[in-house]
């Protein structure tokens, strides 16, 4: 028995729109190990969020649809299991924290309503117990005057507070896996640091797995154990974070790393990858990255590269290494 808690195999999620089929997630594989923090990295539009939503089958359907692949949680395929079973897993075993706390919280319900609702749904607690549990969680998140915060509406809280409340909500039922979808994007820098601290603490204290979705390699380097780089709806490179940062293989990963501003370097312009991310409606044939790739070869234009292991922990999908 391996210690993978979540395994995603060849996941494909397509959106059927008037303009054509958008292949937002087009065959992604990765696994989350017990107690680790796996980061999904990529530019916006590469399919990170859709991947996260697909795990819990939260993609709006129609127009979205999981067309292929499986999401195995304790050997249960979440893409095919009964919705009733899935609901028991949602929020209880696998919880999610969304990127914009502002819109992820229901504006007409108090914070306590929203947290307690989830606790009482999954745990055998009465209202009072649920309430004190919620208070404890908020406290853990470093929220001052918890009782007040419990009884206010989201719009009465600052952005950082909302994000913390949202995280508290995600944690409220002690999930095995917490999926955090860019939890630091919508907040300012100082808050971002605090939130990252919270996640680091969580990892340490709770021994739970974290699937962290971000476009920010700096964040990845701070909290990630392993990282999966996504491009054009596919994973292009998987490796421990240190390897990704220090020894990126895929030209795209290389480009991404190059984009991180280095304050020690005072001259020169910021590097950037030329071109734009392909539209999921018209993914280029062959390797999706080939139109932007500086080291493009003929084969890249016709054939999709397969995944190859460079080392025991490092996999990449690029013809350069085949």
């Amino acid at each position: 028995m391996d210690n993978n808690v979540l395994k995603v195999n060849n996941l494909k999620t397509y959106f059927y729109t008037r303009h054509g089929t958008a292949r937002a997630v087009n065959g992604i594989d990765f696994e989350v190990k017990h107690g680790e923090c796996l980061c999904l990295v990529g530019e916006s539009g590469c399919g990170k969020t859709v991947t996260a939503l697909s795990i819990l089958r939260l993609v709006e359907s129609p127009p979205g649809k999981i067309v292929d692949g499986e999401v195995l949680y304790n050997n249960l395929d979440l893409t095919k299991c009964r919705i009733k079973r899935l609901r028991q897993i949602r929020g209880k075993d696998i919880a999610m924290v969304f990127q914009e706390a502002q819109s992820a919280l229901n504006p007409v319900l108090t914070i306590s309503d929203q947290i307690i609702e989830q606790i009482m749904l999954h745990l055998p607690l009465n209202k009072k117990e649920a309430h004190s549990r919620a208070c404890g969680l908020l406290e853990e998140m470093g929220i001052p005057s918890v009782e007040r915060v419990m009884n206010v509406y989201p719009h009465q809280l600052s952005g950082g507070m909302k994000q913390r409340a949202l995280i508290a909500m995600g944690l409220s039922c002690n999930p095995q896996i917490l999926i955090a979808d860019e939890p630091t994007t919508a907040v300012d820098v100082t808050i971002k640091a605090q939130i990252l601290d919270i996640f680091r603490d969580l990892k340490r204290k709770r021994q739970m797995s974290l699937l962290f979705i971000t476009h920010d390699l700096a964040v990845v380097s701070e909290i990630g154990d392993r990282a999966v780089v996504l491009y054009g709806g596919k994973d292009v490179e998987t490796a421990p974070v240190s390897e990704i940062i220090d020894n990126p293989k895929h030209p795209y990963t290389v480009g991404l790393i190059g984009c991180i501003p280095d304050i020690s370097q005072t001259t020169g312009r910021l590097a950037s990858i030329p071109g734009t991310i392909p539209s999921p409606l018209e993914l280029p044939p062959g390797c999706p990255f080939h139109p932007r790739c500086s080291r493009v070869m003929d084969i890249c234009r016709h054939q999709e590269p397969s995944y190859i292991s460079i080392s025991h922990t490092h996999k990449v999908s690029c013809f350069l290494y085949q």
Binding site: I89, A95, N106
Partner: protein, 325 residues
């Protein structure tokens, strides 16, 4: 949560209501007095047939209506009486205006209440269903039907319902029978066609508003959050989406309530012969019964203002983000 600002707001609104009402009264007063016609006109066929001296009768009737005084005097007298709580005497029905309203409001009220409940409950349910099943066949059918519903002229619908259900099938009576006891099954049955007539347009409107409002909210982040929590779909839609979708709905339902008495309800009352306030007021217009016209306008105005205020206050409970300062 203390809402002390709410009291200030209500007082402000009340003062404002009085000013608006005064404005409307004045406009009505001017309108009814500048017209070329006289309350005596409608008798002339009768009088002429009996060979009467028309000028004399006209003078007599106008004197009895108090129209022989100068206009400003009439205006001051009217406002003065109003302030003393005296709505005046209805010449076309020979009873105090206040009694007239007291005996007739219930007919309008039951019609409007039942129609509103019928339309709101069914409209909201269908709207939610349609939104949840967006782009399915049922959704298309409901959307199309709702277009038909809002486009059908209510009075024509009433006539058609009579044609089908009363004339051809004989299931319902074609008129409303006031002799039925208020709280009885027969009364409810007698109100079926009127409620359908008045309610269909409202119902269709509510379906459309609910659907679009629900769609707006179903796309929002907190719905995904709610689903991610593992909540059953019923809670996600009923609690999370619907509570947010309710706000624009309340506006539209309340607006309907305020405007329907003298619009759709009146036409329905005409079609089915329901002696409600709508009929009373329009008959009063046709009879030049100014005290009634003025009072009904006043009541209509206050009702709209009151409903507006109630809506505003309801908002503060439905949507904690709203504050009036």
């Amino acid at each position: 949560m203390g809402k002390s600002w709410l009291r200030v707001y209500i007082i402000k609104r009340l003062i404002y209501a009085v000013i608006i009402a005064l404005g409307i009264l004045t406009i009505t007063f001017v309108l009814v007095r500048v017209g070329p016609s006289s309350p005596a006109d409608k008798y002339l066929a009768n009088l002429a047939a009996k060979g009467q001296d028309i000028a004399q009768v006209t003078a007599a009737i106008e004197a009895r209506y108090g129209l022989d005084k100068p206009i400003w005097q009439q205006y001051i007298d009217y406002i003065g009486n109003l302030l003393r709580g005296n709505l005046g005497w209805s010449f076309s029905t020979s009873m105090p205006v206040i009694d007239l309203i007291k005996t007739h409001w219930i007919y309008s009220f039951q019609l409007i209440l039942l129609s509103s409940i019928f339309a709101a409950v069914l409209g909201i349910l269908i709207g939610i269903y349609s939104a949840v099943k967006q782009y399915t066949k049922t959704d298309y059918v409901f959307t199309f039907l709702s277009f038909i519903g809002v486009s059908i002229p209510s009075f024509w619908l009433g006539v058609m319902l009579i044609l089908v259900f009363s004339v051809k099938l004989g299931i319902f009576k074609s008129y409303y029978d006031t002799a039925l006891p208020l709280f009885s099954l027969e009364n409810l049955k007698a109100l079926v066609l009127p409620v359908m007539t008045l309610g269909t347009g409202m119902l269709a409107g509510y379906v459309r508003y609910t659907r679009s409002s629900m769609l707006d909210n179903l796309r929002k982040g907190f719905i995904t959050t709610a689903r991610a929590k593992g909540l059953p779909e019923r809670t996600v839609i009923g609690k999370h989406a619907f509570r947010n979708a309710l706000l624009p709905l309340v506006t539209i339902i309340m607006f309907d309530l305020g405007s329907i008495v003298f619009g759709g309800a009146y036409l329905t009352e005409i079609v089915f012969g329901i002696p409600g306030l709508g009929q009373v007021s329009f008959n009063a217009i046709f009879a030049h019964d100014y005290p009634v016209v003025m009072s009904i306008t006043l009541i209509g105005t206050f009702m709209v203002l009151f409903i507006n205020m109630a809506t505003d206050i309801a908002y503060t409970y439905l949507d904690p983000r709203i504050r009036y300062d």
